[in-house]
C-alpha cells in the first residue's frame, strides 16, 4: 500500500489540510460561523517571545510571625499546665508572648522554655512584688531564618500550583527579601490565575459553637470562640450569601495532613462539583477521633478563614476521607483541588504589582530575529535550487511541507513556543535539509554508476533511508530523555525537536519521494536534473 502513489499523495494532502486548519486561527481573526469549524487555539508564545502576566507578590511576614508565635503560644500554654507552672497572666502580643509567673517558679519556667521551645528568647523581664513578667520572642537570627524558609516554601508551593494549572515555562523567582516574582505567558483569564496563585489555602476544621449560635452577628463573641463568615450559594439563583457563624477557636485538623484532593461530581451533592479530600495516616486518625467525639455536632470546614460548609457529623468517619462542598463551578472546584494538593502558603501574600509585560527578549530583538530567519530560509531555498537544480525545487517543497506540518502540530499540541523551541526548529530544518542532501548525493552516486533514472532514484532513497533513520532516531532518544528530565528551556527545546524529527522522518519517506515518483511515472525522463 505504501508503494501506491495515490495513497501517499492523499496522505500528504490530508496532513497538509489538517495542519492548515490548525494554522488558520494564527493567520486570520475568525468571525461568526467560521469559528465553529476551526480550532480556536493559536500558537502559544512564551515569556521570551510574547511576554505575559507579571505579578509581584509580597509574603506577609507580619502575619507569618503572628502564625508562628500562635503555635508557640499554644505549646507554651500546654507545657506550663503539664509542668504545673502557675501563670498569673499569659498573653500574645503583636511581636511577643507575655507571661506573668510567680518569681519562685522562674527556674522551672526557664527549664521548660530551654527544653521545649529553644528558639524562643527572653527579650524582657520585669519583677513586681513576687510576680515576674517575661516577654518571649524569636531571636533576630531565628526571625530571618524563619522568613527565609517561608519564602522558599512559598516559591515551591506557587511553582507546584502553576505547574498543575498547566502553564508551561513560567518564571517564579524570589525578589528582594520577601517578595516573589511570578511571570506567566499567555494567560487568558488573569483573574483566575491570580486567585489560584494568591490563595493562602489554609484549610482548617473547627467545631461550630452550637450553644451560642444565637449570638452570631451580634458583636458579642463568647470566650474561646471566633466569628467567621460562612459562604453559601443558592443552587437555583447562583446568588452567594454570607452569614456570620461562631466557631471554637481551637483547630481540630489542618490541611497539612492531606495527601490528595480531587474534583468529584454528583452523588449526594446534586450533581455539583465538589472536592474530595484524603488524609494521611496521622490525619485519618485525628479525623476518626474528632468525628467520633462529636457525633451530632457540626464541624466547620474553613478555608482561609471563610467557612465553606458546616455539616453535621452523623457518625464516626474512619478511612481519612472528607469533602468540601460549597456550590462551586467546575473551574472553582478544579482550582481549589490544585491549591489544596499543592499545599498552603506559609502566610498570606499581597499583590504589589499586576501588569502585562512585553517579551524578555525585547520586541526589537524578536523583529530582527524574524527578519534574519526569513532571509536565512530564502538563502537555503535559493541555494538548493542552484545546487540541485530542478531536484532542488522538490527539496524546497519537502522543506515547506515540513515547516507547515511542524507549526500545525505545534498548535494542535498546544505547546509553548520559546526561543529554545525555535532553536529546535532551526535544528529540525537543518536535519530536513540534510535528509534531502543525503538522498540527492546518493542518487548522484547511483547515476554515476550508470544506473537508469528510475533505478537511481529508488536506490538512492533506500540507501539514504538507513542513514536518515539512524541519525534521526539517535537524536530522538536524546529528546525523549531531555523531555522527561529537563525543565524550562530544555523541555521546550526537546518538545519542538521531537515533533520536528518525527515529521522529518514522515516527509523523508513520503514527501519528496512521492513527487519524484509522480514525475518519473508521468514524464518518464531519461535524465535527471539533480
Amino acid at each position: 500500500m505504501l508503494k501506491s502513489l495515490k495513497f501517499r499523495a492523499v496522505l500528504i494532502l490530508v496532513f497538509l489540510f489538517i495542519s492548515i486548519v490548525y494554522l488558520v486561527p494564527n493567520a486570520v481573526e475568525l468571525e461568526g460561523a467560521w469559528k465553529k469549524y476551526f480550532p480556536s487555539d493559536k500558537i502559544h508564545l512564551g515569556l521570551d517571545l510574547k511576554g505575559g502576566m507579571h505579578l509581584l507578590l509580597s509574603l506577609d511576614t507580619n502575619r507569618l510571625m503572628d502564625n508562628m508565635l500562635d503555635r508557640k503560644f499554644n505549646q507554651l500554654k500546654d507545657g506550663m499546665i503539664r509542668e504545673g507552672i502557675r501563670f498569673v497572666g499569659l498573653d500574645k502580643r503583636a511581636d511577643r508572648i507575655e507571661v506573668v509567673i510567680k518569681a519562685e517558679q522562674r527556674e522551672k519556667f526557664y527549664n521548660l522554655v530551654g527544653k521545649e521551645l529553644p528558639d524562643l528568647k527572653v527579650i524582657e523581664s520585669k519583677t513586681e512584688g513576687d510576680n515576674l513578667t517575661l516577654g518571649l520572642s524569636y531571636s533576630e537570627k531565628e526571625v530571618l531564618n524563619l522568613k527565609d524558609n517561608a519564602v522558599h516554601q512559598a516559591l515551591e508551593t506557587i511553582r507546584n500550583r502553576v505547574d498543575q494549572f498547566g502553564v508551561s515555562e513560567p518564571v517564579i523567582v524570589q525578589q528582594g527579601e520577601s517578595n516573589i516574582l511570578v511571570q506567566l505567558p499567555g494567560i487568558k483569564d488573569p483573574e483566575r490565575a491570580l486567585e489560584l496563585i494568591g490563595k493562602t489555602a489554609q484549610l482548617e476544621f473547627k467545631l461550630v459553637d452550637e450553644e451560642n449560635a444565637a449570638k452570631a452577628g451580634t458583636g458579642v463573641i463568647p470566650e474561646g470562640d471566633e466569628q467567621l463568615m460562612m459562604k453559601s450559594r443558592n443552587r437555583d439563583t447562583s446568588v452567594t450569601t454570607t452569614t456570620p457563624i461562631l466557631v471554637k477557636k481551637q483547630t481540630l485538623l489542618t490541611g497539612d495532613m492531606l495527601t490528595d484532593a480531587r474534583v468529584r461530581i454528583g452523588g449526594e451533592f446534586h450533581n455539583e462539583p465538589y472536592v474530595a479530600l484524603e488524609f494521611n495516616s496521622e490525619g485519618s486518625r485525628i479525623f476518626d477521633r474528632i468525628t467520633g467525639e462529636n457525633v451530632g455536632k457540626r464541624i466547620a470546614i474553613i478555608l482561609d478563614n471563610t467557612v465553606y460548609s458546616a455539616p453535621v457529623v452523623r457518625e464516626r468517619i474512619s478511612g481519612g476521607k472528607a469533602s468540601i462542598t460549597g456550590g462551586f463551578t467546575s473551574d472553582e472546584a478544579k482550582d481549589l483541588a490544585i491549591v489544596l494538593r499543592a499545599g498552603a502558603l506559609p502566610a498570606p501574600v499581597n499583590v504589589i504589582q499586576n501588569i502585562t509585560i512585553g517579551p524578555t527578549l525585547g520586541q526589537d530583538s524578536i523583529r530582527k530575529g524574524v527578519q534574519a530567519a526569513i532571509l536565512g530560509g530564502l538563502l537555503v531555498i535559493v541555494f538548493m535550487i542552484y545546487y540541485y537544480r530542478a531536484s532542488g525545487i522538490v527539496a524546497d517543497i519537502a522543506l515547506f511541507l515540513n515547516l507547515i506540518y511542524l507549526l500545525g502540530a505545534f498548535t494542535a499540541l498546544r505547546a509553548t513556543m520559546t526561543l529554545p523551541g525555535i532553536a529546535g526548529i532551526i535544528l529540525t530544518i537543518g536535519m530536513g535539509v540534510d535528509t534531502n542532501v543525503l538522498i540527492f548525493e546518493r542518487i548522484r552516486e547511483e547515476l554515476r554508476l550508470g544506473k537508469t533514472v528510475r533505478a537511481a532514484v529508488d536506490g538512492g532513497y533506500s540507501k539514504a533511508w538507513v542513514t536518515i533513520f539512524d541519525a534521526h532516531i539517535t537524536t530522538l532518544i536524546t529528546t525523549f530523555i531531555l523531555f522527561i528530565f529537563g525543565t524550562g528551556p530544555i523541555k521546550g527545546f526537546a518538545v519542538t525537536l521531537a515533533i520536528g524529527i518525527i515529521i522529518n522522518l514522515f516527509t523523508a519517506v513520503f514527501g519528496s519521494k512521492t513527487i519524484f515518483d509522480w514525475i518519473l511515472a508521468r514524464y518518464k525522463p531519461r535524465s535527471l536534473s539533480i
Binding site: 501588569i355 534574519a372 536565512g376 545546487y387 542532501v437
Partner: protein, 303 residues
C-alpha cells in the same frame, strides 16, 4: 550526466592526519574543561539568569523604544541587560547582573540613571523601583540537566551499540562531548556571556554533531560490510569520509547560511546565540571526521 559539485571526487587521508588533529582536539577539550571548572566555581561570565542581580523599573515621560534604551545603556558600558517593556505604558524593566555591594559607593540605580540622562538628554524619566533578583535557574534545574545529559549519553551509546557496535557508540558520545566542551571553552576564552540561550545552543550543537557523526558512521558501516581483511580498515574509513564529504560540506554550508543571517541581522540579543551555533556547527562537522572516526580506527587497530 553533469552535476554542480562543490568538490570533485576527493581522496584525502583523514586518518593520516589524526595525530595533528588530536592535538587540536585536546587543546579544545582542555580549554573546555577549564571553562567548565570556572563555570562551576562561578568565575565565568554567567548571565543574570544564573547569577541574579538587580531589577529596575523605569518610567519615561514620552514613548521610548527598547532599541534606543539599549543603545543608551551600551554606550554607558552596560552590555548585558535584559529589557522588558510594560504593555500600555512607557515603563521598562531592566535586569542586570550589577548588584549593590557594600564596598561600592555608587548604587546600581544611580549609575544607570546617570547613564540614561547622559545618553538620552531631554527625556524625562524616573526610577520607580529597584530590587535585588535571585537566579531564575533553580538548583533543581541544574541537577535535572545533569541527569538528563548523563542519561541521554547512555541512551545514545546503547542505541548506536545496537545498530552499529559498542565502539561506535562510545566514539559518537566522545565526539559529542568534545563539541560541547570546545564550544564552552571558546566562549570562556572569548569571555562571551553564558545565558539560558547558550545552554540551548549547546544542546542544539550536541544534536547536530550527533547526526553528523551517525551519517559518517553509517557509511563506514556500509563499507565495512564490503571490507575483506582487517588491515585496510584505515582505507575504509578514509574512503567513507571522502564519499560523504560533499554531503557533509553541503549540509554544513546550508546550515551555516541560516546562522550567518541570524548572526548578521539578528541583533544584539541573538548575537551570542548565533555565534555559538556558528562555531558549534563547524566544530560538530570537524569532530565527526577528526574525532569520532579516528577513535574507532584506533580502537579497532589496537585490539
Amino acid at each position: 550526466m553533469k552535476f554542480r559539485e562543490i568538490t570533485k571526487k576527493t581522496n584525502i587521508d583523514f586518518i593520516g592526519m589524526r595525530n595533528k588533529m588530536f592535538i587540536l582536539s585536546a587543546v579544545l577539550v582542555l580549554t573546555g574543561l577549564f571553562g567548565f571548572v570556572m563555570v562551576a566555581l562561578g568565575k565565568a561570565n554567567l548571565s543574570v539568569d544564573f547569577t541574579g542581580g538587580t531589577e529596575l523599573q523605569l518610567r519615561f515621560d514620552q514613548p521610548t523604544s527598547i532599541g534606543a534604551l539599549r543603545s543608551a545603556l551600551t554606550s554607558g558600558g552596560i552590555e548585558d541587560v535584559q529589557i522588558q517593556e510594560v504593555a500600555g505604558k512607557n515603563d521598562f524593566f531592566l535586569k542586570t547582573k550589577l548588584m549593590n555591594t557594600g564596598t561600592e559607593k555608587e548604587k546600581v540605580q544611580d549609575k544607570i540613571s546617570a547613564i540614561i540622562s547622559r545618553a538620552m538628554p531631554g527625556k524625562g524619566f524616573q526610577v520607580l523601583g529597584s530590587n535585588m533578583v535571585g537566579s531564575s535557574v533553580g538548583k533543581t534545574l541544574k541537577q535535572h540537566a545533569i541527569i538528563a545529559i548523563a542519561l541521554s549519553l547512555l541512551g545514545i551509546i546503547i542505541y548506536i551499540a545496537w545498530r552499529f557496535n559498542f565502539v561506535f557508540g562510545v566514539a559518537a558520545t566522545i565526539a559529542t562531548f568534545h563539541d560541547v566542551l570546545a564550544l564552552l571553552g571558546i566562549f570562556f576564552v572569548l569571555h562571551r556571556e553564558m545565558n539560558i540561550l547558550f545552554i540551548t545552543a549547546l544542546l542544539t550543537i550536541a544534536g547536530y554533531s550527533l547526526t553528523d557523526t551517525v551519517v559518517v558512521f553509517d557509511r563506514i558501516r556500509e563499507n565495512m560490510a564490503k571490507m575483506k581483511s582487517k588491515t585496510d580498515f584505515g582505507k575504509v574509513i578514509n574512503g567513507s569520509i571522502n564519499e560523504v564529504l560533499s554531503r557533509t560540506l553541503i549540509t554544513s554550508l546550508t546550515v551555516l547560511l541560516v546562522i550567518a543571517a541570524l548572526l548578521v541581522l539578528g541583533g544584539h540579543v541573538l548575537l551570542d546565540f548565533s555565534f555559538a551555533l556558528f562555531i558549534g556547527v563547524m566544530v560538530g562537522t570537524y569532530s565527526s571526521i577528526f574525532v569520532a572516526s579516528p577513535l574507532i580506527y584506533l580502537w579497532r587497530t589496537r585490539s
